[in-house]
Symmetry: C2
Subunit: 216 residues, 2 copies
Amino acid sequence: MSAVAAEQPGEPSSRDRILDAAEGLFARRGYAGVGLRELADLVGLGKSSLFHHFESKPQLYAAVCARILARISEGVDRSLAAGGSPMERLERVVDDLLDLLAAQPNDARILLRSLFEDDELAGETREELEGREFTARIMSSISALLREGMEAGQFRSVHVPGLLLSLIGQTVFPFASGEFGQEILGKDPFDPSEVKRRKREVRDLLRHGLLAPAGR
Amino acid sequence: MSAVAAEQPGEPSSRDRILDAAEGLFARRGYAGVGLRELADLVGLGKSSLFHHFESKPQLYAAVCARILARISEGVDRSLAAGGSPMERLERVVDDLLDLLAAQPNDARILLRSLFEDDELAGETREELEGREFTARIMSSISALLREGMEAGQFRSVHVPGLLLSLIGQTVFPFASGEFGQEILGKDPFDPSEVKRRKREVRDLLRHGLLAPAGR
DNA sequence: AACGAAGGCGACCGATCGGTCGGTCGCCAT
DNA sequence: ATGGCGACCGACCGATCGGTCGCCTTCGTT
């Protein structure tokens, strides 16, 4: 019997421990590449116990994705709430998002993976719809911010959806690129100095590409 | 295995038909999500016949990736060969790359997927090393181009590896984003008009973010 | 005519897949 | 004390996984 000792009030529940472990595995090997036996072993449970917390593998995966999207959606809301000019708010959103992705090494990969895989994964579970909703919230928040800046004459007139995709590519992709990114950069993309540098890079992109040519 | 050179266009060989089908399946469902039975059925062969053309599943996957990288590497070489100023060459490389990705709907996804998955997939097959080589060639070609432009004083001084990652995010990611990209854009990312628009967007990014402020 | 290689086939292998089932254990309220 | 309950477990299920095997056909070479 593995000692169940140290059930301190602050200890994470089995459900959360499953989610944490599943997040790491899905990030590394993708949905189909993860076996539930392996996951159960990693958590320290019997495989059948997983089904006491989640109905099925697709629903577990959806729960993992939903948790990540909820984190990000909450972060974006918080970053936007602080106010300021459109550019100030935009830069703060990007800064905070980069911090969040850097702090959660699995998020970027699962985010991108889920984009590739949601073509399949038939089941329309509750969690999946929840995830869609979070995604839509995030996207529309940033879209609205961009349009606000344009209407106020502070932003150049740009194609909002296109910029949105570019922004994702610039913020999320580097954290998902793994060994490849490390090899190119010569350092870990999650290294604090590199995160800081990427913030600068994205910020410069936004300033150059988005700010209305008023000063020059 | 003598070095089989290029085949003239005619009826595609079984090997190529397997590669084509595998490319589509891997793009949609990832390495672990594709079963060899399914692939064989799609090609119209028995499953065991696959092993007459490829030693194993990992090697088949490596061959699919290597073929894509070879296509792209060749395209980049061709784009660079035409000459011109650094900015002209850079814009042509990006233009042609976007055309190539748009013409081969599976490439972008497999490219990104392979970045996520190569942590695993232990076997160091010939094809895998071949793929690494192509990747290195592509990256160093573009890096050299960027450095050349900087040394000539035509490009602003930028962090080359960082820009490289950003560029990948802006060019490859939109074509890999699937339904998500379609939903955001309101149209298929592969639609010719959208491809054209993305070319403009990337070109503008490069001009604003890279061109030295000399033309004044 | 003889032959070997190349390509293809179905049957089959052990392992593993997601998922189910019946049951045990400890806890807590009655 | 007892009975309901949530967490957990091992055993088991049919299906499918990647891969092997032996055999058959086709075809170019000699």
